[in-house]
Symmetry: C2
Subunit: 303 residues, 2 copies
């Protein structure tokens, strides 16, 4: 092997799609991990012969997450024992919401995951919009969470209303930085949603902290759409408060159960997510590999 660099596609369609994107954008050779599943459900992993000594290994952790994790650990172990230098790119980091011991005895899953990745030899780690930036400390090496919102704001500029008509909202104060990053790039105002209890009826209302929505289009920005419950409920109330239209933007579209239906029946006009998880009917995906490729522009010179 020589010292220049190649792209290695891990298991699953999304890993392959990002690997192809990076390989094309950077002019790097692409290889794929050979994999299959035996009749009893066990995974088989075989590494190809890679001529280059440095590998940008793309392994997404979309469902079935635990199978992908195991396939990744097997591949990392083999890459290390064969002597490669490995940068791991995991567009969707599974288990990122299990980042602390909320109740005594709970496993901090993202901690173990990142520790294993590091101990099996990956020396750099890239993901897209990790749930808690703080989680990356569990990887004792260079770990980056790429901010996709400026890129998505650019791509979505012809799909959303004019920035002057748009109010960008985060579902709560904790996520306001995401709304800010999207709004700054899109050129709109931003705010966050607060919950208020009606003094007379006792019902919970959701509304923007400071900026009324009447007559404006709203874009709710979050990192993950999972069951879609909160966003659907917020949309319904914002429309009642006179919002013209409500859109949802997220990096990772998990869409557990009937999340898409729930969002549509909440009155959401458009759902826009990254391509880090499988696509769904009624959802528009934004390809994020061009943004990831920009991070590796230095690799062009090694090829």
């Amino acid at each position: 092997m020589d010292r220049n660099i190649a792209v290695l596609a891990g298991t699953g369609e999304i890993s392959l799609s990002y690997a192809r994107g990076l390989s094309n954008a950077l002019g790097l050779e692409m290889y794929s991990v050979e994999s299959k599943v035996f009749p009893d459900g066990e995974s088989y992993i075989r590494l190809p012969e890679i001529k280059e000594g440095n590998v940008i290994y793309i392994q997404n952790l979309d469902p079935p997450q635990d199978k992908r994790i195991w396939e990744m650990l097997l591949s990392l172990d083999k890459l290390r024992s064969t002597g490669y230098h490995v940068i791991l790119v995991t567009p969707y980091l599974a288990y990122s919401r299990q980042d602390k011991e909320f109740l005594k005895g709970e496993a901090i899953s993202v901690a173990l995951l990142l520790q294993l990745i590091r101990s099996l030899g990956a020396y750099e780690f890239y993901t897209i919009e990790v749930h808690q930036m703080n989680s990356l400390k569990f990887f004792t090496g260079r770990a980056l969470s790429l901010d996709p919102y400026p890129y998505m704001a650019g791509v979505l500029s012809d799909k959303l209303p004019h920035p002057s008509e748009v109010l960008v909202l985060s579902p709560d104060i904790g996520a306001i930085d995401r709304a800010r990053r999207f709004a700054d790039a899109f050129g709109s105002e931003f705010d966050y949603i607060v919950k208020r209890r009606d003094r007379f009826t006792g019902e919970i209302y959701m509304e923007p902290k400071g900026i009324p929505v009447r007559g404006r289009s709203v874009v709710i920005v979050d990192d993950i759409i999972s069951t879609g419950g909160t966003v659907a409920k917020a949309a319904r109330m914002l429309l009642e408060q006179g919002a013209y239209n409500v859109y949802a933007v997220a990096t990772h579209g998990v869409f557990a159960g009937n999340a898409v239906e729930k969002l549509k029946s909440g009155g959401i006009k458009g759902i826009y997510v990254g391509d880090t998880l499988p696509g769904r009917d009624g959802v528009v995906q934004v390809e994020l590999h061009p943004m990831v490729a920009r991070e590796f522009s230095w690799a062009k010179e090694l090829s």
Copy 2:
């Protein structure tokens, strides 16, 4: 916590069943790992508060194997960081057939699995009839593969013909030690099956190396029944050669796809396996936890 010992049931029904068996036989307190699966497919793991300082942790690796592996790694990590001394019991060790690099670049899955178990703090490891004894070297600590055949021979003595009428066969010379161990305890003769090509028709025949089967009952003994193809084919031929009846005995009944049907249509009269994997219609399971409990008789004195 104090220095005596408890049993901890890992995830899945089989782990729980072995843990109950050990707890009852040894008079030890039993705890269970709390687990659930979120709507998006991620596992949640929470350890109970365990009063004792030493833990016999039972985690079987039945399907879905990769989910069980991940749940086990999370639990081991949490047990270690909480300060417990852990003995791991894994009745069925998944990935035990991926024990060497048959083709260049293949992951040696059982090696990584045992290395991770060790590095996450288990200081002793028990399984039942591992596929290759040599695999246990990947666990750099005390690792035991329990021999279930003497125990199974005892339990099956009233389900199989009289030992003097029985010929015990292994499907090939590589597995003859399993046939020998069963036969010695059962009190029968044993042999192994060879493949011979018919000089005139070119067809492959399977028959015992040295002892004719005519008029005898045959018990084919193996470690794992997976697709059932080889055993079904052997049974058909042994019956053609005049065997009175053919039975199949194995430690681990994987039964991928339509394996049970295949065995039945090959003329197998009875299928007997351990309870290390889920049961199937038409298959008799032998409970192996009493045999495992015997290994831990020393723990009674610590309770």
